[in-house]
Amino acid sequence: MKSAPIYLDHNATAPMLAAARDAVIDAMARTGNPSSVHATGRAARHLVESAREQVARSVGAAAPEIVFTGSGTEANNFALRGVDGPVLISAVEHDSVAAARPDAIAIPVDGDGIVDLRALEALVAQHRPALVSVMLANNETGAIQPIDEVARIARRARALIHCDAVQAFGKIAVDVAALDVDLLSVSAHKIGGPQGVGALIARGNVALEPLLRGGGQEKRRRAGTENVAGIAGFGVAAAAVNDHLKMAEATRALRDGLEARIVAAMPGARIFAAGTRRLPNTTCVGMPGIGAETQLMAFDLAGIAVSAGAACSSGKVTASRVLRAMGASEEEARCAIRVSFGRGNSVSDVERFVAAWMALAMRRGSNGGATIRAA
């Protein structure tokens, strides 16, 4: 008997919320270009502006500060490439930050992937950056950065602060004022909204060089006809983030349960970033001696969807850049997978994951004689 597949890859993308889906489909069935002045166009404009309010409220920003984009990646590129001058980024940033500015200077991180604030101070003094970009939570490990402290240091040097909150949004509270950042990136599909929409929150209307030029939409900050339906769905999903946050403790219990059982069964197993505050839904776990590729295949056969790090272009599993920056050896980094929980997961999903994990670990034996205890 084949049981229903289990989705434990919510950091790659989350299923759409029913309400967001309804909003998308409803908006799809309406015509209208928001830039048209006739009634049909104005109705489309209204959908976009209501969603702007919803997204703004969900992160404690003002509506005019929201610039809708085509993705979180675009929002990150917009922020990073929109400024002139040197840029500092953490060593564990998402590719969409790192690749947007190949000339960026990396801020080192500790063994849990947290930026080294002392090092940041020195780098700020040395390079006089125009922008410091540090993610709120890491997509692979879930490690949460001390953004307020990063901001304090950056502010003293009059640098702008950008925070990639794509992975954190919807999983922990995100408030631009509390974080004290100038720029913040979010994405709809990570919070139960549709794929194909993101936003850059530009506080106090920080002036940025636009990435896309043309029709003057988004107050000349991002050209192109607005993805009205996608934006409407994003708004609805953003309005529901507080409901997500209420589930955080339940999600954390699932995640912690999974980690506890794996570590108890195999003391050699490593939970990355375990020593720091993390997103409640994410675990990055290494099974010594067994490559991530092998693990992923085994989990897929068991009907469990997990991943090795970020879901990007390459099908190849290479050692995670993030884990390497945290000081993991090539071998350790090669053996890690990411499990990310979300809406709809239950204790039985944890049971099945642990069972599959144990079966694999036992079948392959353990690394250097580490013991496997019955779970």
Binding site: N33, V37, T73, H94, L212, G215, T225
Partner: protein, 410 residues
């Protein structure tokens, strides 16, 4: 259910160049990707990712097929604006230093012109070709403008305001001969007229989803592989879309664009006949009932669903206010909120007053004869009413040549 919703929209929608309604068949194709097939198409480790990817790749083939391209030559973007930005900036930046010259035309869409202006500020040279009175570029002027320093020639396939179709094949031949890449913004042309990127020697071509009854938020860029066009990516990250455009693709939107292309490929020929019929019905009736109306742009070389007409002696804003039942525009949607006269019409040599009185009327897949007739009635009624109140109209009718009058300065 969807079609009822579409048809219930109260105003008569005649603004198909601004955006088109989503075809219900397109929405149907997209639906599974809003529900069960929700995976990230770039997830390679599980079936959720694979089935999303499968949808994306099928869509890519559908888009390619419509323009005679190979599916490997299709890059998904967030829309034609992004495609145009990527094509022009991407190619210009890649060949910077070797070829620093760009050729475009004055009637291009704003996103092409703004991109070119930005590149000028960065030190590139840009030639803006004028257009003839019918809106078409002069091929000899193009030939003279393209040099061995030209990296890219960007000439739109069909104009968004006046619908005129440029001689793509001839432009392609000139570009190929001169060794410059030919990019065409085909947002208004794809799915409306036959386009074959090989027969026309097109090297890059921009497509929009929402102009062809697909969703908003999705577009594509055709990037030729042989001879290979190289460009600098404008959005970097995970390296999706062969490294030319990073970011998680939206499978539902890709599938929607693909389906829209497949429908267009099947129905384009018969739809063109029908739309030309509606357009002619409209134009004939207007011309029969109203004197002093002027068609802007060539009628022959034009996409079937577009008209752009100036109604002399009528104030454009008042006319727009009067015909509220009709969703039409006085220019492109992007600039329609501004009161500036259309730069496209000005480029044709249309005088400012006449440019101010112009309407863009777009017919499309869901336009009925009845709607066309109603629109004619509305426009005739309001134009007549406004002219009746106009002293200029009265003077013109009594034979005064308005151009001979020396207006007193205020």
């Amino acid at each position: 259910m969807v079609s009822t919703v579409l048809r219930n929209s109260q105003p008569i929608y005649l603004d198909y160049q601004a955006t088109t309604p989503l075809d219900p068949r397109v929405l149907e194709a997209m639906m599974p990707y809003f529900t069960s097939k929700f995976g990230n198409p770039h997830s390679r480790s599980h079936s959720y990712g694979w089935e999303s990817e499968e949808g994306v790749e099928k869509a890519r083939a559908q888009v390619a097929s419509l323009i005679g391209a190979d599916e490997k030559e299709i890059i998904f973007t967030s829309g034609a604006t992004e495609s145009n930005n990527l094509a022009i900036k991407g190619v210009a930046e890649f060949y910077q230093g070797k070829r620093d010259h760009i050729v475009t035309a004055v009637t291009e869409h704003k996103c092409v012109l703004d991109t070119c202006r930005h590149l000028e500020q960065k030190g590139f040279k840009v030639t803006y070709l004028p257009v003839q009175q019918n809106g078409l570029i002069d091929l000899e002027q193009l030939r003279a403008a393209v040099t061995d320093k030209t990296s890219i020639v960007s000439i739109m396939a069909a104009n968004n305001e006046i619908g005129v179709v440029q001689p793509l094949k001839e432009i392609g031949a000139i570009c190929r001969e001169k060794g410059a890449f030919f990019h065409t913004d085909a947002a208004q042309a794809v799915g409306k007229i036959e386009i074959d990127v090989n027969a026309m020697n097109i090297d890059l071509l921009s497509i929009s989803g929402h102009k062809i009854y697909g969703p908003k938020g999705i577009g594509a860029l055709f990037v030729r592989r042989r001879p290979r066009v190289r460009l600098v990516a404008q959005i970097n990250g995970g390296g999706q879309e062969r490294g030319m455009r990073s970011g998680t693709l939206a499978p539902a939107l890709c599938v929607g664009l693909g389906e829209a292309c497949a429908i267009a490929e099947k129905e384009m020929a018969s739809e063109a006949v029908r739309l030309r019929g509606l357009r002619d019905r409209f134009l004939t009736a207007i011309r029969e009932r109203l004197p002093e109306v002027y068609l802007n742009g060539d009628l022959e070389n034009r996409i079937p669903g577009n008209l752009n007409i100036s109604f002399a002696y009528v104030e454009g804003e008042s006319l727009m206010m009067g015909i509220k039942r009709l969703a039409v525009s006085s220019g492109s949607a992007c600039t329609s909120a501004s009161l500036e006269p259309s730069y496209v019409l000005r480029a044709l040599g249309v005088e400012e007053e006449m440019a101010h009185t112009s309407l863009r009327i777009g017919f499309g897949r869901f336009t009925t004869e009845e709607e066309v007739d109603t629109a004619v009635e509305e426009i005739v009624r309001h134009v007549t009413k406004l002219r009746d109140m106009s002293p200029l109209w009265e003077m013109a009718q009594s034979g005064v040549d308005l151009k001979s009058i020396n207006w007193a300065a205020h």
